[in-house]
Amino acid sequence: MALSSLSLYSQAIILFAALVLFTSFVMLAQTRMVPLIFTFAWQGLLMAVATVLVAIVSGHKHLYISAALTVVLKVGLIPWLLYRLSVRLDMNYETEAIKHPSLLLLGGAGLVIFSYFIALPIVHLSGLATRNTIAVSIAVELLGMLMMSVRGTAMAQVIGFMSMENGLFFAAVVSTYGMPLIVELGVAFDVMVASILFGVFFFHLRDSFDSLDVGHLNLLSEANEPAPLAETPAASTQGEHA
């Protein structure tokens, strides 16, 4: 299917899909907190625009509502909440060190190829003009997951989670012109609740460890349990006596 044979609107959908993918990559490598939140908001905005374009092309009116919901929630409310959180937790100037950023990005590119590969059968089934973007939405989801699995701070993980949800939403929009509205409302509500829960989780995390680095959670595992502090000096003194 040649791109030039599509209508300008369909081309624009594809363009915005590519930009959504791009924002996923930017988030993957963004080490500073506030730009990370902004990038997330941008992704929401681009997705909302793509949704409106899909609505125009397909004539499904309920997609306008989905788009509006996306703007309100993912461009407005959630980023604002996260921003507030980061200010209150005093981490809006924090940066996180990523070990091998270029390898991470190459891995991301590998995920895109992989999602293209697994999306091929679906693409062949679908007759929609936007079917090629299915691979992109799967990639956005996988990139969100990758972000959650490699990034250290809780904030980055939450944003990875949210962007996974973005991928899901986008997949629904481009493959079947959106889920039933009630489902979308439900998911949106879930995400809302999740972001509030995450806020609570942040505070607990900081209270317990003085940091938002989730690496500290390793301490909770029994295998890594540090030896009780009281006993260690006692044992060594016993050794000396013997």
Partner: protein, 319 residues
């Protein structure tokens, strides 16, 4: 005069125009930059005066400069001139554009860079070594990004020939290609790095910590320096024209009539002026970055180019 010889004459004229206009572009960039930064601006033809003055000056060579040092300016200028000949400036399908495709063009720049770096090492000063080392590192990182961006474009045009690629874009009309958007951004970043502009290199400074290109040519003077500076100006123009040809070719002459050619000249002048202003804004708002931030900058360019290629496969041709 048959059509073949007309074409060759036009090609020669275009090349001549290219190399003669390059200092003008540099002068325009400098002038706009001065205006933007509230400084008194030199005339746009100041670079011509500089070149003329340098050519007239007597030559001073370092005591242990070898024959290579004296030959390098001519090699660099020759390679850059060849590259300029291959790029369509006002008309496509000139015979010179068949001499070299984009990959050969990259090869010409690599040739010029290779010899500039050697000349930098010839005297044996630490400045030269530093410049050569840094320049080769930056180039090594810029080249894959450049090639990847070019590949993305070539995949759509099914050609690496500049004329053919330009014409393909021209005939396709307005198509919103995400791959082109990414490739454009990548190519802009690579162009900035390759031409030694801010934030990768600062062409206006002689501080040892910040120099790349300037450190390499520190020992040059007189006509040698004139040739090298001129080559650098041509290189900047080549990159600008490349970007114009690939992404905004509208207006370029596809036949050799007087009206089409004059439209071509006007169009390319206007586009070059605009692009130069964009460069000036970019250079004014950004600061020179640390050397070891440059790999990240170029890595980002590579990522953009890679995304361009991926979207080309996934979104534009897949399914």
């Amino acid at each position: 005069m048959n059509s073949q010889s007309i074409a060759w004459t036009l090609a020669a004229a275009q090349t001549l125009l290219f190399i003669l206009a390059a200092p003008l572009l540099a002068g325009w960039v400098k002038r706009v930059k001065c205006h933007l930064q509230n400084r008194a601006a030199p005339a746009v033809w100041q670079p011509y005066r500089d070149l003329a003055k340098l050519i007239k000056k007597n030559l001073v060579l370092a005591e242990n400069a070898s024959w290579l040092f004296r030959a390098v300016p001519y090699i660099v200028f020759g390679a850059t001139l060849l590259a300029a000949a291959a790029v369509p400036l006002i008309a496509v399908h000139l015979p010179t554009s068949a001499i070299a495709d984009v990959i050969v063009l990259v090869g010409f720049f690599a040739l010029a860079r290779f010899f500039t770096a050697l000349a930098a090492l010839d005297i044996g000063t630490a400045f030269g070594g530093m410049g050569a080392s840094r320049e080769m590192t930056v180039a090594a990182l810029a080249e894959p990004a450049m090639l990847m961006a070019v590949f993305t474009l070539a995949m759509t045009a099914h050609s690496t020939n500049l004329s053919v690629a330009t014409e393909t874009v021209l005939q396709a009309g307005l198509v919103l290609r995400p791959s082109f958007l990414f490739a454009l951004l990548a190519l802009l970043m690579v162009a900035v790095a390759e031409c030694g502009r801010i934030p990768v290199d600062n062409p206006a400074t002689h501080l040892e910590l910040t120099m790349l290109h300037e450190a390499m040519i520190l020992e040059y003077n007189g006509r040698h320096l004139a040739l090298i500076e001129w080559a650098a100006q041509i290189k900047l123009m080549i990159y600008a024209v490349l970007i114009i040809d690939f992404f905004f070719p509208w207006g370029i002459a596809s036949e050799f009539s007087a009206s089409a050619l004059s439209v071509g000249v006007l169009a390319v002048t206007a586009k070059l002026m605009l692009l130069a202003m964009l460069l000036v804004v970019w250079e004014t708002v950004l600061a020179k970055m640390r050397l070891f931030r440059v790999p990240q900058f170029l890595g980002f360019a590579f990522l953009l180019a890679l995304l361009g290629m991926l979207t080309n496969v996934v979104l534009e041709t897949g399914g």
